[in-house]
Amino acid sequence: MILNYPTFFKTRPIIKLQDPLQKFLGTFQDGVIEFNYLEITKNAGHSCPDVTGAYLMTYRALKALYNDEELPVRGEIEVAFNKDYTDDITSVMADVTSHITGATLKLGFRGVEGKFSRIEKLKFNETFEGNIRFKRLDNQKEVIAKYDLSSIPIDAKQDILMSKVLSGEATLNEEIDFEVLWQQRVEKIFNHASEVITIIKG
């Protein structure tokens, strides 16, 4: 089966990591796995500026935490947010970071004899300035990612079309126009990743 989705989903940076649990259980040779934006949107159930932001922040933060010779290690990364997990944007972003890094709050693998645990690695209500804080648990190095979309304006037509679609008054063409505008903004965010995301080393 072929899924139809905006073409830019697969051309975006791919995130490559190492997963010691995968290696231990013979799942992937050497435990090396890759994620692309398409996979994240399938799980999240949509592509939007929050999902994109979380994806790009994770990508950039891991680049900063692990240099190019090292692969980020799933299960060794703590991800923190400064709001509660019941906050809408926070939980959508947390799910994206969890998918990539393996970090979970309480629902995840609890480990084998103290190894490979994935729980208690997502933190909420932490105090820091920015959107997401990533910490390497092996060397305690951390970075904070900040996401600012103010340079990527929303097309004036988008909000009008959105309310029409939500109220069921939109024509088929208007529905399509809305979908295209929505994903065009997401693509623009990818194209301006270095402007919208700032990584601050701790």
Binding site: L21, G26, T27, K42, T86
Partner: protein, 199 residues
């Protein structure tokens, strides 16, 4: 990425996601998940992950028959406590496929598309899991028991060596292969290990 060959022969599951459709993410909102997708996110392939995958696939087959299951329209209940053993691992697999979450996930727009409050733990149910369609109210209960698919006797010994850090690289490889062999056998005997009852 190099992974066991049998992953390619496991069933995939197709669903419709109204939120994906609304936001122009997937045409008609059609998404498809494979065992490989789930394994990558779970961080491993094991009897628990394959069991949760098979239980979800079979539960949705029974609930939807010829229709495409709808993400966000499926409520899932578990008998176990979320902090107990492998409950969290199972829940994450179910969430990835159905979109259902307890607290996380999208909270909705104008009362539509919400993904939270679709999962419950420590539920008073007779089976391990229950999947319910919110549109029709129909539900299925699911039990998973892989005990008939025996583990190779060498596995325990090899695992002990690995955990103590005294396994050779051949032994490490052999352990991984035996482990995945059992997962493969679970897929082959899906009809024996997963029991779905329509209510």
């Amino acid at each position: 990425m190099n992974y066991p060959k049998f992953f390619e022969n496991t069933p995939t599951i197709k669903l419709q996601d109204p939120l994906s459709d609304f936001l122009g993410t997937f045409e008609e909102g059609i998404v498809e998940f494979s065992y490989l997708d789930i394994v990558k996110s779970a961080g491993h392939s094991c009897p628990t992950v394959s069991g949760a995958y098979l239980c979800t696939v079979k539960a949705l087959e029974e609930l939807y028959k010829d229709e495409t299951p709808i993400r966000g329209n499926i409520h899932v209940r578990f008998k176990s406590d979320p902090l107990e053993g492998v409950a969290g691992v199972i829940a994450n697999v179910v969430t990835q496929i159905t979109g259902a979450t307890e607290h996380s996930g999208f909270k909705g727009l104008n009362g539509k598309f919400a993904r939270n409050n679709l999962m419950e733990f420590s539920a008073d149910i007779s089976a391990q899991m229950e999947f319910k369609r919110l549109d029709t109210g129909k539900s299925v209960t699911v039990n998973y028991d892989p005990s008939s698919v025996g583990a190779n006797p060498k596995m325990q010994e090899l695992m002990g060596k690995l955990m103590q850090g005294v396994a050779s690289s051949e032994e490490k490889k052999a352990f991984g292969e035996l482990w995945q062999e059992r997962v493969k056998a679970i897929f082959e005997r899906a009809n024996e290990v997963v029991r779905v009852v329509l209510h």
